[in-house]
Structure formats: structure tokens, C-alpha cells
Symmetry: D3
Amino acid sequence: MTNKIAVFRRARFNAAHRLYCKDWSFEKNDEVFGKCNNPSFHGHNYSLEVKLIGNVDPETGFLINLNELKDILKEEVEDRFDHKNLNLDCEEFAQLNPTVENITIVIYNLLRKRLDENKYEIVVRLYETENNYAEYPIL
Amino acid sequence: MTNKIAVFRRARFNAAHRLYCKDWSFEKNDEVFGKCNNPSFHGHNYSLEVKLIGNVDPETGFLINLNELKDILKEEVEDRFDHKNLNLDCEEFAQLNPTVENITIVIYNLLRKRLDENKYEIVVRLYETENNYAEYPIL
Amino acid sequence: MTNKIAVFRRARFNAAHRLYCKDWSFEKNDEVFGKCNNPSFHGHNYSLEVKLIGNVDPETGFLINLNELKDILKEEVEDRFDHKNLNLDCEEFAQLNPTVENITIVIYNLLRKRLDENKYEIVVRLYETENNYAEYPIL
Amino acid sequence: MTNKIAVFRRARFNAAHRLYCKDWSFEKNDEVFGKCNNPSFHGHNYSLEVKLIGNVDPETGFLINLNELKDILKEEVEDRFDHKNLNLDCEEFAQLNPTVENITIVIYNLLRKRLDENKYEIVVRLYETENNYAEYPIL
Amino acid sequence: MTNKIAVFRRARFNAAHRLYCKDWSFEKNDEVFGKCNNPSFHGHNYSLEVKLIGNVDPETGFLINLNELKDILKEEVEDRFDHKNLNLDCEEFAQLNPTVENITIVIYNLLRKRLDENKYEIVVRLYETENNYAEYPIL
Amino acid sequence: MTNKIAVFRRARFNAAHRLYCKDWSFEKNDEVFGKCNNPSFHGHNYSLEVKLIGNVDPETGFLINLNELKDILKEEVEDRFDHKNLNLDCEEFAQLNPTVENITIVIYNLLRKRLDENKYEIVVRLYETENNYAEYPIL
């Protein structure tokens, strides 16, 4: 047990995507990805939960000023992915299948660059639906 | 006050769409529909709530057998719209902008044909996001 | 449009039940009620939403003192049905199939006796699951 | 049954308040309002659901442009009440007990002035907690 | 920190149960288990959250094909426990008190047999009510 | 992996608070805490999730009797903080800024004194809003 604490903040974005491997036949993609392989896309309301771990500032009582974190989530996640087609509009997924696993890792890497590694560990959880979600990394 | 009761059943579908008027310029669509006018589409997890109003069968204690209603919702709504692009894949929206209002009315009309008018009034509520939803008709 | 307002209060109870008609064969019950006809029972977390309609007291700003309503819900609903077998333990369902429709009507009648008809209209909504619920009466 | 449709939009605000009648003794307020009468205040996360009823524009498929409604809710509700003490900071409650009933009616009146009566009926639902909420008016 | 990721999937079942120790008197069971000791049973809507931890397949972007996981959850959990009396119908609880803790461990063991130990760690969280749940194991 | 299990229990309280540092100017507090620095306070519906980790009693199948835990949460958390002004009414925050981080740590310390350290590890998660919450400690 450490003295550390975690703070969580949610963000949301609504996007279209298609799951498929470009090197595979339509039949093989259909077999593996089923209706997620629809060539004209489908979409989701993604709900993101970001967890930061670190030490509370004894003066303010904050781990992080949540307004600062809110702005980072807006810039790195909402402005980038909201009301977008992940396959067509987002360079992050030009060569990467936009599964919930891969979107989670992409968001982790985007946030990691913006938040001081010496101050914060980060865990990202992404809900694709209420029944289906991913979390990265495993600390 | 009548002797009638209402029973509700939920269904869900995940779909892509774009909001725009075909006769308008991109600029005018952009002004009215904003980021919902993204030409490469975005998407949502739609959550549907169907309300049937009628009389309880005194023998079974059912207004309707919910397995029957579940099957109708699967055929008319989930099989038709889940993992689809509403603009490209669904003839219902070939000439109709797939706003949450219009999708709600379309679903009402699909269900109205399948449920006996002498037995059931119907109200359809459709959630596009947790903050934004529509209901039709107003009884 | 009237000057009236509605106030809602929730309550909860967890109960076992079986759906079947005593006069029917097991085969007919199985056909109509499916797995809900399990003779050793199954159960639910029921969530109740009571809506009272009436006039706000201009002095207190209350339609009803919610502590009073909370006590009535505890006595009439929670103490009566929580952690009970509706078929075996509750006289209300000795001759009545405990469908979500019938439980809703029973609760309405129990509350109607306890709340002044000149002051309050009542609507009861009962969730058997998050996907399946009933409402009574239809005003 | 009319041709009308309803569209709903949510907003949120977090506020402090105290329930009491200025003309009453502390003892009488304590008897009626219990711990809600704490003179140093308590608070809630209020969640607002606004329902507009009217006709869909056949060209856009909108009852109302939700960006317009979102701005009105921000100006009339969130900017006015969020992170405020309803009793001390808000003139609407200078002479009015901020019960969930009264806050609901106040918000209805604020929104009624901003939305065209010829185009939209309005119903306001306000959640004080997940178990306790009000709705006004009763159409 | 590892390179691993977690994926979560939900399932649901509705069941009856009674909590008691067979070797104890009714009085002692009543003292320890209270109204959960009702001999005619009560019930719950159980909500299950299964977490798998492992490596993403670089080709598909999947940790596991969720259709495969969905089928396993249907076979091992939903078909086994939904609309059942855990005490009377389920051999897993013939000698084991069906507390939320024990049901969680039983489900973990059922799933552990079906999912490759070299590929996936598993954590099971089971909600008996929204206020009361268990998680196993602690990694 | 150990043989241990976790059990979770929720509790709720509604309170007023103000975020500020007593040694700072109003301007500096305004810059850091924004509208949370309102001198007449604002408030929240706090939702608490307590996680206990330990071994299941093989006879009862309980990690802890949840009625016992429920009573402890009522005494240590609900009776202490519900319908209170955290800054004015609660000695725990006389010298401590009531951020969600600090309230979480205070609750952890209150519960730690009441639950046997040899039997239970404790983790406390506190939701200030649905979008903003904290967890302590990090095991």
C-alpha cells in the first residue's frame, strides 16, 4: 500500500467505424468480424474513463486540477474523435483496426504524452457499449 | 382514468448516420447540422423503449406476452438497423434525414403494422445519447 | 394544462415468484410462460417508482412530505414484499398470477388506500428488469 | 393522438440549499423539514430533463435544433444555478422555499419565456436525487 | 506495467435463492442471515461482469473475439442459472450457501475451465443488487 | 493470485461544501478553484463504494455480514456527513479542503478504525458527480 490516490474523469464521443483486416478477403472478415465488418460502417456512443494515480498536493487537496484534465481530454479525445469516422477521418486508425482494444491503447498513448510521467500513472477504460469495454494498461 | 395498463420493453441497436438535407449546399448543412453533417458519418448506440397500452388478460395476467414483443422488436428494429449505416443501408432513410425524431417515427410506423390496433396503443421513445431523445406519438 | 405538479419517489424490493395458471397443465404453462414457469421459482430486484399528482402547498413548497411517503412505501410495499416469495408468502397473489402487470396493479391499490384521493392522483411504475416494466393506471 | 412529437434534452447543476419557512420557529421547521433544515445548508447534483412537444420540420427533420436548446439551457439554468447556493445567491428563491417542486416550477417559467409558445409545449422534470424528483406541468 | 490489456463483457441472470447453513437451527440462521433466510426463497437480478486480461492479437486487434466469449457466458452462466432456484435447481449449490461471494467463485471456476490459462487471466464481478457485489479473484 | 475475495457496498450522502485555501487571497482561490470557490457554498450527491478484501468464512459463505457493514457505513459516513456543510459542520474539514480526494481519504481513515486490519483490506471510491470521482488507497 502506497500513499497514492486515484482520480477519475469521464469523457464521451460518438463515432462511426468498421472492423476488418485490409489484407483479408471479405469472406474471412465476415467470418471473424461478422456484422462489425459492414462496409458502410456502423457506430457507437463511446464513454471514456481516465484514471490518474499520484500524490495529493497537500495545499490544494488536488491530485490534478480537473479543469486542466478536462481540457486535455477535450483536445486529445473529444475534438479528435467525436462525430468522426474512425477509419476514414482519423490517421491513428489508417493502418490499425479500430477495435475497442486498439482505441483504448491509442487514447492511452495520446494522454501519456500530455501528462507528466513523474507525477501521474494513467489507466484508460473505454466503453463501446454498456456490455463491452476495455482497459489499458494493467498496472 | 381507464382500466388500462402500460407495459414497456427495451431494445438496442448501434448504427452510423449523417444528418443533412440533400438539396442544400454543404455550407448550409454545416451551419444547421454542424458536426452531424460529417460526410464520412458518425454513429450512436441507440436505445429504444416501446410502451404498449391496453387491457390485461385476466387469465394470464399479461398485457402481451413479452416473448412475442421481443421477437417483433428483433425483426422490425434490431435486424433492420443494428450495425447498419442508416443513410446508405436503410431504404426508410433514402429520402428522409435520420434525425432522432424521424427514426422514432419510422420505428413507430414499423411497429404499428405488427401490433393489433384494437388491442394496443403504442408509444416509442428513442435515446440517441443519454442526453438527447425523442418520443412519438403524443397521446 | 393544470396548475398541478407531480412528485416521484422510488422504492425497491427483492422477491421470488413463478408465473403460471393453476388451472392449466404444466405443458400449457410451459408454452405460455416458458422459463418463468420454473416450479422452484426464480426472482428479481424490483424497482418501484410512485408518481403523485396534486397541488403544491404554498407555504411549505411540498406536494407531500417525502418522509411521509417514504414511510408509506416502506409499510405497504417493502415490508410486505421484500425478501418474500410472492406466490407462497403474499396473500395478494394467492389467486393472482404475479406478472409485472398484476404486481403493479396490486401496489397501486395498496397505495390508493393510504393516500387521500382528494389530494393525490397516483401512477405506479414497476421495473422487473431494466428491459421490462409496467405502469398503471393510464391517466 | 396528434401528429406531434416530443424531444428531450438533459442538463445538470450542483447547488446548495436549505429548506425552511422564514415565518416558522426553528422547532417547527425541524419538525417539517428535518435534516433539510440544516442552517449551514446541504447540497445536491440536480439533473434536469426538458421535454418539448411540437411538430417536426419536414425539411430538417428537427423539432428544434438541439444546439439552440442546449444554449438556452446553459443560459437559463446552468449559468444561473450551477455551483450556487439557491437560498443566498438566487433571487428566484429569495421568498420561495427551494423544494424540488418549486425549483421545477421556476425552471419551467424561465424556459417558457425563451421558447415560442406557438411552437412548443414544455414539460420539466428535475431529479434532486435518483430517488426523488418532480415534474411540471401536468399536461 | 505490462503490455497486457483487459476486455470486459457483461451477462445477466435472474434467480431465486435462500441463505442458510443446513447444520444450524432456524433461530441461528435467522440471527445471521435475517430475511435472506426466508424458507420460501427470495430472488435477484444478477449482473455479471467478466474481465479477461491478456495480449491483443496484432492482426485482428482483439484480445478475444467477443462473440466467442458471449457464447461461453451463455452456456456456462445464463443457461445454467437464469430463471433457476440456486438452492434447489443447481448442483453447484447443493452443499454451498449461495451468497454473492460463493456464486462469484463458482462462476470464476466454471469460466476458468473454458478459457485458456496461458492466454487469459480472469476476474469475475457479480452484482446481487446495485448496492451489493463481489469480485474474485484479487490479482 | 491469492485466495481472497472482495465485497463491495454502496452508501450515499448529500452535502454542501466550498473549495478554497484559507491562506490564499480570494483572487488566487478563484483562479485555482473557479466556481467551486463560491463563498456561499454549493453541493453534491456523494455516492460511496466501499471495497473490503479478505477471506470468505467457509461456514457462512460471507466475507463480512453486510448488515454489519451497512451499520458501520451509516454511523461513520451517513450520520456524519449527510445533509451537512462539510466546511462548517464537520471537524474533519476544519483545516482540510473538502476536495473529493480529501473526503475519500477521510472516509478511508474513519472506516479503517472500525474494521479489523487483520481481516480486511479496504478501498474507498467516492463519486462527487458521475464524471468525477476518487479512489484510495492504491493497493
